[in-house]
Symmetry: C2
Subunit: 336 residues, 2 copies
């Protein structure tokens, strides 16, 4: 059945049922909910001293193509993008509202699959999807707002919290999503298991919520998530903190699968492709080591914050020689 | 200058300056802000026991046309739509995040005008615009999320709060926006002052925040805002409350200007055109009278909630005879 046959209110009803069927009401978010889907606004009780909000849009042929990202993964990923922003603040994600715009000829079953993907991740992360908006549009556009609380009282991690001499560290491994995207785009045949793993990293990225909360608790005050490309995102930290950064490219924690398939290019993908949704953060070396010991993901030191220089981010190899990458990160309107 | 020439980050910087220049930092929302535009998420301190969230999208050629709504009014109205949802809950609007998608060939000056319109209304209503998202898209799409607090402790007005015998009342006057839209669409020449007034009602609707808060304080528990058309919106109250409604069409508070230009059709516009963003609410007659005395806008009783019947909403004239309108309210995907 097409969306045009079911109609707006039928679709809202169906998708709200889909969302609720795939979410368990055990999380604090659900317990505190006073008014959910179906009223003018959603409402919940809270006693948290700090509230967080973030919004991201996911637009067809701009942020994703239906060819490379199936509907279930699209729902998962559209929510990850937002949860990752809350993770980068060290926050706890609580509620999501979803504004969906679709062409009338969209299959209803594709949209229920989309919402299943979204609800699956919401359920895993204790987030309640409590409302939204539905409209017609020439292309699919998913706009998600996530609301959270401070994960550690009134504190947050910001982009502006870096200090000279801070080490730069990253959670997990990087370049996997970029490698997965390349594999999907080029329809290349590779080692099947390696390719599958990398494609999964592109299609189902994990938001680092628990790691973000732990970093904040352990005294990290500066973080960003890797969405636009590591060099670009580190540039945002530099701008906000009024500093520059030196990145040691031989220290990057790359995926074995990416090295296996892409060789030397795996490093450039890690530096510029983005969409890894790992946390990039800075702090004193001892603080990072302490946080790393208590975090359930790999933490790797990859560079250092330095006084503001002509290059915002300079890349050096293990001999201290400058390194140049082939292409930059993502920017809208730039014709990329 | 086109958006494509300025680039994403330049545009974000410019629009964030525009927003901040037109908002005064005196409201509690600004005072409690910890992290504003430019980080992964915005953050603020709060001690409110109840939080509210609502989201609405405003998409070109679906919800608006650039021909009928100039950029400044577009910004104003896109925010009104959301503030009106908070008003319908009896809440206090605090923060807004704006997700904007535009074609690369859009003029930057049009977007600053859009944000000025948005910031003007935000400033008037004590709302702080604290973040957002920017992307490329084939058509203009404005997606706003507004976060608020309960206006009266832990209580809210909902669509499901109607009881049998409740009177149905409406704030202000109705049908003005629909009349203004008709005037714009048909390029008709009318009495200039009347036409100007009606067009203003369509382009710059006022969210009824203060009235909503007062209604809740005075014991009203059921409300909705008129966006899709009065009959449609009353139908939502009926569905949520498991009741039907009888509307006395001769009691509708119409605009003199609309009657002057549209005669008898002014009533149909009030019943079905929507976009008035007045509050439609129900309660015991004495409660409504008491609330009306303390509210700074007109309140008119226009009907009664009755046990569920085959017609969700029945329209009767002053002689009790059934009345039929020419066209229904707004629904997406229905080919309207």
């Amino acid at each position: 059945m097409k969306v045009s046959e079911l109609g707006e209110f039928g679709l809202i009803e169906l998708l709200s049922q889909t969302t609720q069927r795939h979410q368990h009401a055990a999380s604090p978010a659900w317990k505190n909910l006073v008014v959910g889907i179906g009223d003018d606004a959603a409402a919940w009780q809270t006693d948290a001293p700090l509230e967080l909000v973030t919004v991201d849009s996911f637009i067809e042929d701009i942020h994703f193509t239906r060819e490379l990202t199936p509907w279930h993964e699209l729902g998962w990923k559209a929510l990850t993008v937002n949860l990752s922003d809350i993770a980068a603040m060290g926050g706890v994600a609580r509620y999501a509202v979803v504004s969906l715009a679709v062409p009338p000829e969209t299959e209803v079953s594709d949209l229920t699959t989309l919402y299943e993907g979204m609800a699956e991740l919401a359920d895993e992360t204790g987030v309640a999807i409590i409302g939204g908006d539905m409209s017609r549009s020439p292309q699919v556009a998913i706009n998600i707002t996530v609301i959270g609380n401070g994960g550690h009282g009134r504190e947050v991690m910001t982009r502006s919290g870096a200090r000279i001499g801070d080490r730069i560290a990253v959670s997990g491994r990087v370049g996997g999503a970029g490698a997965g995207w390349e594999i999907l785009r080029n329809h290349q045949h590779h080692d099947e298991a390696a390719a599958t793993r990398l494609v999964e990293l592109f299609q189902r990225p994990q938001p680092r919520l628990a790691a973000g909360q732990q970093l904040l608790r352990d005294g990290i005050h500066c973080a960003i998530d890797i969405s636009d490309g590591m060099v670009n995102d580190l540039g945002h930290i530099c701008d906000a903190s009024g500093l520059s950064a030196r990145l040691e490219i031989d220290r990057l924690p790359l995926y074995e699968e990416a090295k296996q398939i892409f060789g030397e290019r795996a490093r450039d993908l890690a530096l510029s492709a983005g969409e890894d949704y790992e946390l990039l953060f800075t702090g004193p070396e001892a603080t990072i080591h302490q946080a790393a010991a208590r975090t359930d993901c790999e933490i790797t030191i990859i560079g250092e914050m330095i006084p503001a220089a002509s290059d915002r981010v300079s890349l050096v190899n293990h001999q201290g020689r400058p390194y140049r990458i082939a292409c930059g990160g993502w920017e809208h309107f730039s014709g990329q």
